[in-house]
């Protein structure tokens, strides 16, 4: 039983260390907030409702990709009275022209690193001359 004198403080220290990230987040004034996105000016609607796009844009992009690349089906999608080409560079990037002000903000805050831009280059880079 005399080992308890060592075990209990050590256990407390371990628990504290493990709980630190949680405690750190609970500090007052540290409420997490969703990243602020710069929406394209002049455009009111996306291909799908914002809620769907927020959660499942990757599903939509995968469906477009499978349809265009695998089956050669390039039928444009229509939404809200407009038709859109099934293309990441040709449709999405036209409106969301600033990757750093839109895509990157959520991806960075969530620690997601999609590889899309390795190949689907970004017009912003052209404008800013970055490479």
């Amino acid at each position: 039983m005399r080992d308890l004198r060592i075990i209990i403080p050590l256990l407390a220290a371990v628990l504290l260390a493990a709980g630190l990230p949680v405690l750190y987040g609970l500090r007052p004034g540290q409420e997490s907030s969703p990243p602020k996105l710069e929406l394209p000016a002049g455009e009111k609607a996306c291909v799908m409702p914002a809620d769907y796009m927020r959660q499942s844009h990757m599903t939509l992009l995968r469906q477009w990709r499978e349809s265009v690349v695998r089956t050669g089906d390039r039928t444009p999608v229509s939404a809200g009275g407009k038709t859109y080409e099934k293309s990441l560079s040709g449709t999405c990037f036209k409106c969301h022209a600033k990757k750093s002000a839109f895509c990157d903000r959520c991806h960075a805050s969530l620690g997601a690193a999609p590889a899309c831009w390795d190949c689907h280059h970004y017009t912003e880079e052209v404008a800013h001359g970055a490479e």
């Binding site: 990709r65 690349v69 695998r70 050669g72 390039r74 560079s89 040709g90 590889a115 390795d118 190949c119 689907h120 280059h121 970004y122 017009t123 880079e125 052209v126 001359g129 490479e131």
Partner: protein, 257 residues
């Protein structure tokens, strides 16, 4: 009733046969029904004819290569072991090793002809691809899906025409985005690429970039299933070679001599 070992096995075998047999029969019937219900439109069979004489007469012309490589963001790398090529020039002897001999006609001997992916009828690259990243479309185009390519290079080993290139380094280093065509994706390090017969244009009824760029009319593109197409007309009037036909790949690129 006591179930002995023999009866158990017997029953299990019969149940299995009934289950799998009916499932297989259902598949066959359903397949037939599906096939019967949808009248299938005859898919085109895309092919190209290269007029060797006209191409050779144009000398050092590289218009088709420039147009293709610019349009598809193919970087130019001088090192032949690392170069990326979709359409390129090859000497007659190298393109047609079975046809060349000591007394090859002077107008062909040592002359360069256009070579590109042959979009084979029976593509060996497709057979060896472990991920389905390359496959043959209904219209005969041998496609690449860069998203699925794992860079194993089996297809490069399988292709007897050297039509496939591997990205040994990030092409972005050679082809900065400023110089790239924003309408077409680049590739990433570790994927294999090749000519796509401009599938994106073929789907919208347009001619490939190389054919549009060719000033001498040496490149002819069309549908082999359409007897009135330019390709069929060219093939009807002229003798045509195919590269290494003895391998049984069935190239869709014809060379008019």
């Amino acid at each position: 009733m006591e179930l002995n070992r023999r009866d158990l096995l017997r029953r299990a075998f019969r149940t299995g046969l009934a289950l799998f047999g009916s499932a297989a029969a259902f598949d066959v019937v359903r397949g037939d029904l599906l096939a019967a219900g949808v009248p299938k439109a005859a898919a085109p069979r895309r092919a190209m004819a290269v007029d060797i004489a006209r191409c050779i007469a144009a000398g050092d012309c590289r218009e088709c290569i420039t147009a293709c490589h610019k349009g598809h963001n193919v970087p130019s790398i001088a090192d032949t072991k690392r170069e990326i090529k979709w359409i390129w020039k090859e000497t007659f002897e190298r393109a047609f090793p079975d046809e060349a001999h000591e007394f090859t006609r002077q107008d062909l001997k040592g002359k360069e002809v256009m070579t590109l992916c042959n979009h084979c009828e029976n593509p060996p690259c497709v057979r060896v691809c472990p991920t389905g990243a390359t496959w043959k479309r209904e219209d005969g185009i041998v496609m690449m899906d860069m998203h699925r390519c794992i860079g194993c290079r089996y297809c490069m080993a399988a292709c007897p025409y050297g039509s496939r290139s591997f990205n040994w380094s990030d092409p972005a280093r050679v082809l900065p985005v400023k110089a790239a065509n924003p309408g077409y994706p680049r590739r990433t390090k570790g994927v294999v690429e090749k000519c796509s017969f401009c599938d994106e244009l073929a789907d919208t009824g347009k001619l490939p970039l190389c054919v549009t760029a060719c000033k001498t009319g040496a490149l002819i593109f069309g549908d082999l299933n359409d007897a009135g197409s330019d390709v069929r007309k060219a093939l009807a009037g002229r003798y045509a070679l195919r590269r290494k036909p003895s391998l049984g790949t069935g190239p869709s690129v014809f060379y008019l001599v």
